[in-house]
Structure formats: structure tokens, C-alpha cells
């Protein structure tokens, strides 16, 4: 059990991610590869160690994922373009100060082509639609400075229809409220300056109810806690200025107890296997909670706050004040 965030260990865990030659599961996750790089890089940035991965290699890899036929980025070379990986590519290139490598008009065209008549976005031409992809589209267009090309009314209209009786949001119209969707819907609305669509009191109450006695957060009532909700729930609360409604000490302890003290990395809950997905979202949660020594994270874009501020995209979110290092 550790009561501290073991930053050097997590940095080395992320650096070693590409070396798992015996990890059979690794090749099955090629459809997540670009996303995984974004998660790893963002975690390093928040821990103050962006330099731990080679910048040139990373940029080259991102560009090798370019799907010239579709005009977007796939998750891996030769994979079809997808909104999830396209957003990750843009985020990585911005953090690496290499956005000039992107063919912006083509990417904008790809993104806009995925909007459905109902207002939701498909992830790719396969047609899976989900409010997650709506968020990816809105975030990507915003980061590229092309948000004005989006039909905002139509987009906001869809999110509004996803709002449920408990104040939460589902992944499509009619679906159950889920913490992950709370983040994507609220963050998209923040970017579009339409937080008026949120029933703030009810949603934030629902989000505060995600906290279980062990301090961890779950995704919906009567389900298990999971470290990744430390980000999905906290970011939504932060955007709506209600982070105080979560017991910060208990949540911090929970996240820290899910660290692997030998290999580094953070798991979904204490004792389970770590992965880079839970590592970034655990670290992101701690940053929003004001954990000492971490870099400020923008909860709307899940990128370093300074980067977003420099682009003039900062919205009115509020995190807990960062505690001094020896607290």
C-alpha cells in the first residue's frame, strides 16, 4: 500500500510499454494503439515528464497512421480512419507542438462527414454511433480551430435527447445514464458553450452518488468502483464547479491503493493488473483533486491546462487547489 504517487515508477512503466514482447494481448489491441500513445503521453505530461518518450519517433508514428483515403487517422498503420484515433492524433501533435503536420481541411471534412441526421456522430464508416464520438468530433474541431463549421444546434439537440430522468446521460438516445457519458456530454456542451442543457444540480448529485464507501467511484448505481471513473466523474464535476461534492481524501487513497508498487502503472482497482488506460485516468483524477507535484490538467480536453490555455480554449472549470509538496 502506498500513500504516495510513485511518479518515477509510473514514468518507467510507460516507457516500457512498447517492450512487452511476450504480451500476447498486446497485438490484439492494435485497434487502440494511437489512443494508448495519447494516454501514455498525457500521463507523462501530468507527471511532469513529457520528455520520457522520444518526440520525433512519436510524431512519425502518428503520421504513419494517416489514412489518406478517408482523410483521418486510424489507430495503427493500415487501419481505417476512426474518430477516436483522429482525436488522439490531434491531441498528441498539439502536445508535441507539431500540429502543422496535419492536413486540416481534409481532417475537418472527414469529421463532419460522420455526423448523422439525428446529430450524433458515427465513429467511422462502419456506423457505430455513440455520444463518445460526438465528443471526439467537437473536441477535435475545437482544437483545430474549426468549430464554426459544425452544425451546433443539431449537435446540442442530440445531447439534450440523451439526458435521462436521473439527470445523467446515455451513449445514445434512450440509453441508461453512465459516468463515461456524463463526461463526454458535459465536456462537449462546455466546448459549445451550452452548459444550460445540463440539469446541474441533479446531475452533480447523481455523480456524487457514484462514490462508494471504499472511496472509489462507479459508473452507474450498484456497479463496482473503477479508477477510470476518477476522471469521468471528476472532470464532469469540475466543469460544473462541484468537485467538492466528492470526498477527495477517500478518492485519492483509493486511486493510490491501485498502484502496482513493483512494475508501476495503475489498475482499475487494488490488486488487479495495471494498464496505461487506468494509469492516465488515475493520474488525471489526482491532478483534479489537487495532488501535490502534478501539472494542472484541463478536464474538458483531458490535456495539460497550459496547452489549452495557450490556444485560448479554456472554459470555466474549477479543480481543487493544488496542495504544497510536503502535505
Amino acid at each position: 500500500m502506498s500513500s504516495k504517487l510513485l511518479i518515477p515508477l509510473h514514468v518507467s512503466y510507460i516507457q516500457k510499454l512498447g517492450e512487452s514482447k511476450d504480451d500476447l494481448a498486446y497485438h490484439l489491441t492494435s485497434h487502440l494503439r494511437l489512443n494508448a500513445i495519447y494516454w501514455g503521453l498525457t500521463a507523462l505530461c501530468v507527471m511532469g515528464h513529457q520528455e520520457a518518450l522520444d518526440r520525433e519517433e512519436m510524431i512519425e508514428f502518428v503520421m504513419s497512421c494517416w489514412d489518406d483515403e478517408a482523410g483521418g487517422f486510424g489507430a495503427h498503420p493500415e487501419h481505417d480512419a476512426h474518430l477516436l484515433s483522429t482525436l488522439s492524433a490531434i491531441q498528441i501533435l498539439i502536445m508535441q507542438d507539431a500540429l502543422d503536420r496535419v492536413d486540416v481541411p481534409r481532417v475537418v471534412s472527414f469529421i463532419l462527414s460522420l455526423q448523422q441526421p439525428s446529430g450524433v456522430f458515427a465513429g467511422d464508416s462502419f456506423g457505430e454511433f455513440d455520444t463518445r464520438f460526438l465528443y471526439c468530433a467537437v473536441s477535435a474541431l475545437s482544437l483545430l480551430g474549426r468549430l464554426d463549421e459544425l452544425d451546433k444546434e443539431k449537435t446540442v439537440g442530440y445531447i439534450e435527447r440523451c439526458r435521462n430522468f436521473d439527470g445523467g446521460f446515455g451513449n445514445v438516445v434512450g440509453a441508461e445514464s453512465h459516468s463515461g457519458q456524463a463526461f463526454v456530454c458535459v465536456a462537449a456542451l462546455a466546448i459549445l458553450d451550452r452548459l444550460d442543457v445540463v440539469d446541474t444540480d441533479t446531475l452533480c448529485w447523481w455523480l456524487s452518488e457514484r462514490q462508494l464507501p471504499n472511496g472509489g467511484l462507479n459508473g452507474r448505481p450498484e456497479k463496482l468502483e473503477d479508477v477510470c471513473y476518477s476522471f469521468w466523474v471528476l472532470s464532469a464535476l469540475s466543469i460544473l464547479n462541484k468537485v467538492e461534492w466528492i470526498d477527495a481524501n477517500k478518492l485519492s487513497s483509493f486511486i493510490l491503493s491501485a498502484q502496482d508498487l513493483e512494475t508501476g502503472g495503475i489498475a482499475d482497482r487494488p490488486g488487479d493488473m495495471v494498464d496505461v488506460f487506468h494509469t492516465i485516468f488515475g493520474v488525471a483524477g489526482l491532478s483534479i483533486l489537487g495532488y501535490p507535484g502534478l501539472v494542472d490538467l484541463d478536464p474538458v480536453y483531458c490535456m495539460p491546462a497550459a496547452v489549452i490555455e495557450a490556444k485560448g480554449l479554456r472554459k470555466g472549470w474549477k479543480a481543487l487547489e493544488r496542495r504544497p509538496a510536503d502535505s
Binding site: 485497434h31 493500415e78 456506423g127 436521473d166 441508461e176 450498484e222 477517500k250
Partner: protein, 340 residues
Amino acid sequence: MPSPTGDQISKSLFAERSEWSDVTPLQQYESLVNPLAPIFYTEEYKDATDYFRGIVKSGEKSQRVLELTEAIIRQNPAHYSAWQYRYETLLALDAPLDVELKLMDELAVKYLKTYQVWHHRRLLLAHTRKPAPELEFIARSLGVDAKNYHTWSYRQWLLAYFNDEDDLWRGELDFVDAMLTQDVRNNSAWHHRFFVVWGCGVREGEEDRGRILKRELTYVKQNISLAPNNPSAWNYLRGVLDHNQVLYSIVFPFVRLYTVPFNSERTDIVDLENPPPDKDANLPCPAAIEFLADVYEQDKNKESTLQAVELWMSLANEHDTIRKKYWEHRIREALEATKV
């Protein structure tokens, strides 16, 4: 010709089969020495995906492509390009989609957690237009994983998409009831009930909204009495009252029963309107205290506000301390409102 079973497929590589010798397999793009994206395969997976890239390049849409995509999907159900190409091939061949659905039934049991399994069914259903057997299949899947988000979302899609077939909805209430009998804490089932009863437009036979409201209030109260510390049921109660714009005071006598420790001197008069908790229940129930506070707050007078404040204080200090700051917010807000 039926495709071979998964076991047979994995036994011989496509590279070793003469009937595939006319296809040029294409290797995965190998980026030079990039520690972030090493390429690791089992031999079978590499073989199948090499041949997949080969037929994608040539644009082939034939029966053997179905065999190939099935091989990939069985090894990696998240390979969405394989799913997409399979679907396009099925259409190009005008293949019997009922047969495809049966195959998918088998795969779904093994690979339930991936989204593509459900999306593929959605695409097929849009063509076959036979939703009733699908409801059966979804029910069986939920038997394995009762809270699977994609499964429930798929059921909701199916009902809404084939909405004009009234028969489809007929068994839904019974279905939800069966799921809740299995696990009264299944939030997905409670959400689905709200969707079916209130969310999807009024259907034939359900026009008397007053009767429906009464029925649903009775239902949720009974289920609360079975398991009081069940946030989904309390959320449902709140949702029903809000949706019908009914003041919470209508359930005041019921809620109050759950805000005090068990009263062993209570006589056993059966009050169907207000089913009480049984002696094994964990009382008082924080969700009930919270609800009672909302009842008082809705009265909007100084006295009832103070009663609400007292209840919120008991939550902040004793019954729900983890959300202390939230309850303190409610107290502040209510006191502010009385000053105005």
C-alpha cells in the same frame, strides 16, 4: 456450404491451403524500430490478417471471404475492419442473413463484451426486419451478463426502431419484472422500465395515465420494501413523480416508514399503499431520509425547510458522511431560499 467450425479454421493456415494460393497476402506495415508500436502476432492471426489485407486490396467479396473474416473475428472480436468487410460481403453475396444471425448467436455467447457483435446484429436486423426472435436472444444474453450496457442499449434500439409493431412491446413489462425479480438492484432494468413505460410514447392500452402512474408507484414501493437500500428504485420513484409533475408529498407516509429504525411494536396491519420494511432491513435508510428531506423542501415554508435541514444534517454527520459537502450545500441553499 456451411463454414467450418472455429476449431477447424485454426488448424491450417491460409498460406498452407491450395484454394487460397491465388491470393497475395500483404504483410502488416512494419514501422522501423518504434518502441511504441511493436508488432506481435500469433502465427494464425498474422496469417489470417495478411490474407485479409490481400483480399481487401483486390476487393474480393466471396464465400471464402466469410470464412476468412470469421477466423479473424474469432481471434480478435474487436477488429472492426473485418466486421465491416464481412457485412459488405454478406450483402454482395445476398447471403441468407438468418443463417448469419444464428452464427452470431454462437459468437455472441463467447465474445459478448465487444461492441461490434451488437452493431453487426443491428445492421442485419435492419435487413431481416424480424425483431421478435431478437428479443428472445437479448433475454438469453442478459441471462449471462445482466447489466451489459451494449445489450440493453441494443434492446432499446430494437424497440424504438420497430416501434410500429405493437406486439413487440407487449411482453416488455413482464420481461423487466423478471429481470428485477432476479436482481432488484439491476439499474439497467430500472432504466429500461422507465424507457418502456414513460419514455417511448403512449401505446394502445396505456392511455389512462392516471392508472399507469398508480400502477408504477405501487410497483416501485413494493420493490423498495423488499430491498430498501437500493438507489435504483429510489431514483425510479423520483423519476416517475418528476415526469408526471406530482409533488413528492404523495408518498410521504410510505417514505417516512424507512427513515426510522425498525419498530418491533408495529402491528401487522397490511397497508398495500404503504408496504413497510421488514425487520432485517438496514434502517434508517439514507435514500429515504434524503427523499423525506425533498418532501419537506417542496413545501417551501420556513417550518418544513427547517425539518429538511435537520434531515440533511443527519445525513452529513451520521448516515451519509462521505457526501457531507453535498448535504451542507443543500442546507445552505435551502436556508438562502427562505430568506428571499
